[in-house]
Chain length 135, copies 2
Amino acid sequence: MTSDPLSTTFAALADPTRRAILARLASGETTVKELSEPFELTQPAITKHLKVLEHAGLISRSRSAQTRPAKLEPAGLQVAWQWVDEYRRFWEESFDRLDEYLKRLQSTPGPDSKPSGSNAPSRDKEKSNGHRRKH
Amino acid sequence: MTSDPLSTTFAALADPTRRAILARLASGETTVKELSEPFELTQPAITKHLKVLEHAGLISRSRSAQTRPAKLEPAGLQVAWQWVDEYRRFWEESFDRLDEYLKRLQSTPGPDSKPSGSNAPSRDKEKSNGHRRKH
DNA sequence: ATTACATTTCACCAATCGGTTATATAACCG
DNA sequence: CGGTTATATAACCGATTGGTGAAATGTAAT
């Protein structure tokens, strides 16, 4: 319990059945029964999955007669998207830095040059590690 | 076992300790011991977490003397990013549809029209922002 | 060869997870 | 009212998870 929202969201997304439910929901509201058939799961199992998704803010449920249709709540993905996107940016910047580094290498062969042909897979532990940003 | 990559990645991200390790790794390679101190976890616990992250392709480990430093492997986030981004697009399109719907409502006031001007939810989405370099 | 250090592996534990069946609640329909 | 339908809850089960302490495995340094 008392798990942070990001963990709750990622945990909810870590199950293929749950992701399939979201995919199904992307094309419209659906009831529990309509879900339990194609997934070959019992109805209580679907109810549990829906509860996990709802608790993560990824879906919401309405009330219509006996049924309680579930509907996609796309805003619930924002936290996950923000987190992943931050690292995606870091990833792109890594490539940018690598680009720059290679360019600098080419233009000015440094004093510590060890350009011995097949440069190793760069398992270099590099004291002054290149990446510096974030937190 | 035989869990799909997406589930593996999301499950790896669903733990706050693991995300903190990734954040730490974003500023450079780190050893197991350097990690176990700030996290107040025993070394076996860190080793397990690192194994989960490595299996998800989010980090890689090298070998340097006694230590086996871990390094961020940003490409491992691609699958997660792609999945989330797909739903983010759906989310934006939802707003687009809402825009269109509201516009149609305004141009052709239906029988249930309720054109009380000021209640515009004011969602000025900055569309097609930042994401350069598509996957 | 011995010692010291970093890491992994092993055996265990409590808690959570994803599923089941069986039962309860709730809303509609005669 | 009684019956049907949709969903929820309860109790249980096996597998997985996140943690531990203790022992095994490198790898350097002396």
